[in-house]
Symmetry: C2
Subunit: 588 residues, 2 copies
Amino acid sequence: MYRTHTCGELRIADKGKKVTLAGWVQKSRKLGGMTFIDLRDRYGITQLVVEADAAPELVATASELGREFVIQVTGEVLERESKNAKMATGDVEIKVESINVLNKSVTPPFTIEETSDGGEDLRAKYRYLDLRRPPLQRALALRHRLAHEVRNYLDSKGFMEIETPYLIKSTPEGARDFVVPSRMNPGTFYALPQSPQTFKQLLMVAGYDRYFQIVRCFRDEDLRADRQPEFTQIDCEMSFVEQEDVLGMFEGMMRQMFKNALGVDIPDPLPRMSWYDAMDSYGSDKPDVRFGMKIHDITDDVKGHGFGVFDGSEYIGAIAADGCAEYTRKQIDELTEWVKRPQVGAKGLVYIRLNADGSVKSSIDKFYTPEQLSAIAAKAEAKPGDLVLVLCGPKRKTQTQLGVLRIEMGNRLGYRDPKVFAPLWIVDFPLFEWSEEDGRFYAMHHPFTAPKPEHIDWYYSDKKEDLERVCANAYDFVLNGTELGGGSIRIHDAQMQERMFDILGISKEDAEYKFGFIINAFKFGAPPHGGLAFGFDRVCALFGGQETIRDYIAFPKNNQGRDVMIDSPSEIDQVQMDELFLASTFKK
Amino acid sequence: MYRTHTCGELRIADKGKKVTLAGWVQKSRKLGGMTFIDLRDRYGITQLVVEADAAPELVATASELGREFVIQVTGEVLERESKNAKMATGDVEIKVESINVLNKSVTPPFTIEETSDGGEDLRAKYRYLDLRRPPLQRALALRHRLAHEVRNYLDSKGFMEIETPYLIKSTPEGARDFVVPSRMNPGTFYALPQSPQTFKQLLMVAGYDRYFQIVRCFRDEDLRADRQPEFTQIDCEMSFVEQEDVLGMFEGMMRQMFKNALGVDIPDPLPRMSWYDAMDSYGSDKPDVRFGMKIHDITDDVKGHGFGVFDGSEYIGAIAADGCAEYTRKQIDELTEWVKRPQVGAKGLVYIRLNADGSVKSSIDKFYTPEQLSAIAAKAEAKPGDLVLVLCGPKRKTQTQLGVLRIEMGNRLGYRDPKVFAPLWIVDFPLFEWSEEDGRFYAMHHPFTAPKPEHIDWYYSDKKEDLERVCANAYDFVLNGTELGGGSIRIHDAQMQERMFDILGISKEDAEYKFGFIINAFKFGAPPHGGLAFGFDRVCALFGGQETIRDYIAFPKNNQGRDVMIDSPSEIDQVQMDELFLASTFKK
């Protein structure tokens, strides 16, 4: 028994107790012969005092303690003279009677405090020290709590967590697989799963009815910022369900997670928005609805007044930036440059100031009367003092640009408080996307996504415009401008599946080659089923009020897919290579 | 909404209700114009009746239903005339008013019943159909329940589940790694973890204090029966603990799992047995203590009576097989051949019959008087009617052979009831094993296992016999003759670790190369820590009363490491090979 209490546990009620604590030396300081030591563990910090008149060996030991030494101390709980209201243990201190140095520490390469002085690379290399810092301890504690809430909720709803294999088969669809050479089966490879999609659908065929798994997935992609080659999903599937059943079940899960982990109540039921409305009003299929500043279609209002740029555009849209009428010429120029960056891609930016006195001023004054400009501003729901920002071009593209601009203005105006949570469902996605380039349809989700029952006539129609308006039985869970999860009702009917391949221009042979195994399984009585998956790393980050996932993963990889702490990936022995019947053709 | 109730839910109290069910046709039979259908889902089976005078279309639909068709039916709950007490729903049946065929099924390749007529290979290929069978449904339900119990218990004790990476670094120690070629870092490889050992120790260095994870592990070994290349562990580690703390914590976990999943009470505290006692009395470090038939050392009793085989043996041991004195000559010959098989490896078998009348008869009658034989039988704790079986040779080797024989006799005598549970801890393992061949010590567990504090003087002694008697702070959890888990208190002191490498003949350079990374992390204040890991697949199988793990894994691999259902591992595209900078040197 190394301790009687943790470092976060003692209170004024424990006064007079003889206790033993163990932990790390956070800091130590001398004050008039006395030594004060902050002793830290996962549970908190407790102040220790070695009095000036203590035994000389004790005073000597105390004075030799360095940062991050691991010690065990015994002493009496005293009431502090100067209490620290910021600490849970701030009313007490321990009058130390003995110190046992359990382990020394060399000086850590950066400070282990709420914020560290170490750079990102250094902290990644010494991740096990960075993980001692309170923000990372809180992040991993939140992750544990959320996983536990997910499991408790789904267990209470009759879901079974079923583990699916990690050594599976490489599939020709989707992103790039990580592969694993087989020693026992020379020249062949396993693949690591990008998701357990096939297996969860097989479990439905097998009659498991309600499945979930918190599971690692792998994608060998060129890593964009904040992507990891291995990531964790909450993967779920249900049988004998319609879309309504799935949405109800999983917004219930999210509601319980918000309530139990954060004490936050989210609306019941959650708001829903069609994909079309999301694109039209927010320029995004993952709208941040914490704030308004919606996009408005002003095409009909501005066309035909002799302004060539507008007259030649398919679509003209506007947002009203709250209280930004005071923006200087310089600020507007900067914003214009910002939207013209390749990441946004607009050709230019038109503005209309709606001044506090109701007058208007615009970069397109010469084409429109003040009354016309006022009417446009009104259409954009601008109030006096607002700045109307206008972009034009092809419809969806321009809406997307306005969506990006809206988020930027939301950031600038402080509308994106990470402690405010505005979840919603996006529904009614188009089932197909038409590619002008290829002259064919693509599946917007995947070729097993079912059409909405009420659109079934269009689904079997031969007309392109009918197919374009077929909506999918698909849904995304969106929080604060981030897609946290999504899924669909799957096709379980052979004829409907054949029609899908038909529309996508996938031949019978191709379908057999790419999906033959699952199509075959479906011949043995596949139930109607559907499900979804949440990106758990991102769920944790957003619940924690952060945008980046790295601090919510204990041992993440960097943007080159490397773990710099353990120095991986790395070369392996020639013996290992030989056993796997592999020759590496790269040059050393 | 596809159903109002599941197929396991309706009772006599629901009589008269109009209900909708959905599920699979288990079987259907005609009886005097009526059609009886057993409708199955994960929750149970409900009997449906289509009456002879029902609408002709309904009768027609019912008569066309095949096995494993997926249907939805609506009807009224009736009380059955002939009730079936064996079924939870056996008091009721549904008078069907409508049938909606949700999906047809081709004829399954084997029967989907409690026991199937399908061979192992066929069932493996159609695993998704085999998984519909009740024993497999129960197995996976038990697995889910046990995982949930583990998590609830450990969460309640302040443990955090922390996910560690799957793409790690190949290490030169231990079994063979599966490796994953890196595309982004040409010519280098990740490795899949054999266990999260390094990471969990780093988490202790990082101050997480109580960690656990139910986690997949990977070993590229030649597969013995009932081994899987990927398997699941309950992996745990604690800081500031001694052996006693770890044992108490995890027998508490097991106690809760037994109680909540099986309704079984296991002893509190659990029995403990030293490794030495286990070897001496059971010839195994994982003794099955559901029955006696202990091994007894009769060396001193039988040596020196002129029987050369015994006189030349280091050790002679005996077990008394209950009531087997009646064994015929033929049975004893068969048993003799059995122990001489290479899997057991004994040179021969000596027997002493202790007849019911107290007389003795032995294969070594001419070397011993009846009184001497009786005394030997008494030493083996034989009762009248027992058969004493004797093996001889080097001590540990012979004890092990007697242990195998004991288990065999336990099986033959029906002493190994899978519904009886006899868990215990094995403790006080030797820290080192001396290899005569190599003339050096090896670590019995691994080189980070701490010696028992009371043996510390021997640990620093230069004498071989001192080092041989150092016990490790290590422990195994054993159930019914199977090791379900094990672990140790780790060395956290640099000097003690250096001494360990010294004893094992590992040079400073070698230690740096093999373990440098973790040794370096330990310089920054490693707390005293220890932990253990349980083999979760085997825990599930034993709790389920089975010896083989395959039915407790949803999608297992066969003995060649293949998943015959998805046909993996398999060849991959040359494009994929090229992207990974790999050339496979195997011949097609």
